[in-house]
């Protein structure tokens, strides 16, 4: 009996430091630390009335919208949108988004991180009065497992159907349960469609297995009126190149998956660096992406054919530090914007082509010493604007038109 008591004490003794650590976590030294830092990641889009809207988080991590009637010279006061108790991801490639549809429909989406690491739900708020008021947030997908549903992208197609696509790990989780860890590479791209501006949604539909887990999904209007989709994919051998698909207008079927980039970048990691995609002329697309090819990291640009296959060589942007590029075009005028940090300042640049992507010239857009978000392009009719956010302001630069 005595021996047991001594043994118990010996067994418990090594646990003492652990108990001490648990106690310390209650008053750890993180007061005033990050974790209080609100993400700068935002989105912008022109409304049907021509005003420019942005959506993001304020310093108190509240979702807000703001609008400008003069292309960003002056802004309305920020309007905080009630999202209940939702946490909202707004950093890097995970950002709130805004889309205008027909019938004065407006939707805002974001990823709500949940209690377990890597988990989340795609949340949405809808407006039926042009953004004057918004509903309470609701979850877009039917699957409610405590797993990854993150990195959503949204767009209305030409028929007014609202498409939501996201990165989803339900197949990974199922494979892990069935065959053990490592049985399934990456995550999957899922989607659904709403034909009534976000009031109701169709079923969750898988677009592709084996997507990368943490990169944004690029959407562009397709010539048919549907959408083109590009995402970082996990090809055989852990090659993280890009894949392409199209979705028919009105929420119809999707095409097969086609490989769109050939960097052959083999890596078991999170690049957190998704592609950009724009509809070009004659059924083609313009694409930009980050990858490492033959040990050379670069943002590369290529034209893609209607099925998403590269047409011609991929061109590296003329900036070795370029990251998080976006692309858009007005006819044969193509613009690529990106940011790079030179050791002192973050520089925003554009690569401009007036011949449908055959030749380019570089244009400096601006720079900041401040913390800042990725740049992206927004279009209004025949005009194209580059936009990015710093801690102090939202910068809007006219690129075309």
């Amino acid at each position: 009996m005595r021996r047991r008591t001594v043994l118990s004490a010996l067994v418990l003794l090594p646990c003492w430091p652990y108990a001490r650590v648990l106690a310390q976590t209650g008053d750890a030294h993180y007061g005033g630390h990050a974790g209080t830092r609100a993400g700068l990641a935002m989105s912008a889009v022109f409304a049907p009335d021509g005003s420019l809207w942005i959506v993001g988080l304020n310093d108190r991590r509240q979702l807000f919208v703001q609008r400008s009637s003069d292309n960003g010279a002056r802004w309305s006061a920020p309007r905080v949108i009630d999202t209940g108790h939702d946490a909202i991801a707004a950093e890097g490639e995970n950002r709130p988004k805004l889309a205008f549809g027909p019938n004065r429909w407006v939707v805002i989406s974001y990823t709500q991180p949940l209690s377990k690491p890597y988990t989340g739900e795609i949340r949405m708020l809808r407006s039926t009065d042009g953004g004057a008021s918004f509903s309470s947030p609701f979850t877009v997908h039917r699957d409610r497992q405590l797993i990854t549903h993150r990195f959503e992208s949204i767009a209305f197609d030409s028929t007014g159907a609202l498409h939501t696509l996201w990165i989803d790990k339900r197949d990974l989780e199922a494979a892990n349960r069935k065959d053990g860890e490592g049985a399934y590479a990456g995550a999957a791209i899922y989607r659904n469609v709403s034909l009534d501006g976000g009031r109701t949604f169709g079923p969750d539909i898988k677009l592709a297995d084996h997507s990368c887990e943490c990169c944004r999904i690029a959407l562009a209007p397709a010539p048919s009126g549907g959408l083109a989709v590009m995402w970082r994919h996990v090809f055989a051998g852990n090659v993280r190149d890009h894949a392409f698909s199209t979705i028919a207008a009105g929420g119809g079927t999707a095409s097969g998956v086609r490989r769109a980039s050939f960097d052959e970048w083999t890596i078991d990691a999170c690049p957190h660096h998704g592609p950009g995609l724009a509809r070009g002329t004659a059924g083609t697309y313009h694409a930009v992406w980050f990858g490492i090819r033959n040990d050379e990291p670069a943002i590369r640009y290529a034209r893609l054919d209607a099925q998403g296959a590269p047409r011609g060589p991929a061109l590296a942007l003329p900036d070795a530090g370029a990251e998080h590029a976006d692309v858009d075009c007005i006819g044969a005028n193509v613009a690529i914007v990106w940011r790079s940090f030179d050791g002192a300042r973050t520089r925003y640049s554009a690569w401009i082509s007036n011949d449908d992507g055959r030749t380019f010239a570089t244009r400096a857009l601006g720079s900041t010493e401040d913390e800042s978000d990725h740049p992206f392009l927004v279009r209004r009719d025949r005009q194209l604007f580059a936009i990015w956010r710093t801690r102090k302001e939202v910068r809007v630069e006219r690129v075309f038109g």
């Binding site: 090594p14 430091p17 974790g35």
Partner: protein
Amino acid sequence: MNACSDSAVRWTGAVSAFLAVCAFAAVAVAAPSSVERFDTAAWEGLQKELSRPSAVVFTATYCASCPAVLAKLSGALRERGIEGDVVVVVIDEAEAPELLKSQHYRHASRLFLFEGNEASLRYQVDSRWRGVTPYIALLTAQGETVFAAGTPSDAQVAAWVEK
């Protein structure tokens, strides 16, 4: 089975349990109890402070492959009886209390969170780093700092601890 062998089995089991708890406790002791700021001075400081070999793993809350890397690196040190550090730096937006609760960082000896301009902090660490996680700085006994993006290979790990 006689009484003597019964007793031996019981003692063997007890000692095994004791050792298992010790091993558990050793890991637990290593778990960080606070989140430190990774600001503009942190990287230089870490390179001076850390014993070598040690590793600094830059991670993000969305990086699902990162916990396995932490386990691999801390395991490599433990297997060889090396008292090096595996330091974790979270580069994305995160709540410090949530990080401390996470089991994913239990293999880390210290836990940091980016504070300030993320692009600038990345550049200070390595100007070629474009935000991929895990991004790993392997600090060798010879004073070198070798960077690896993604899960390091067994050869990279061996070179780090045995160099």
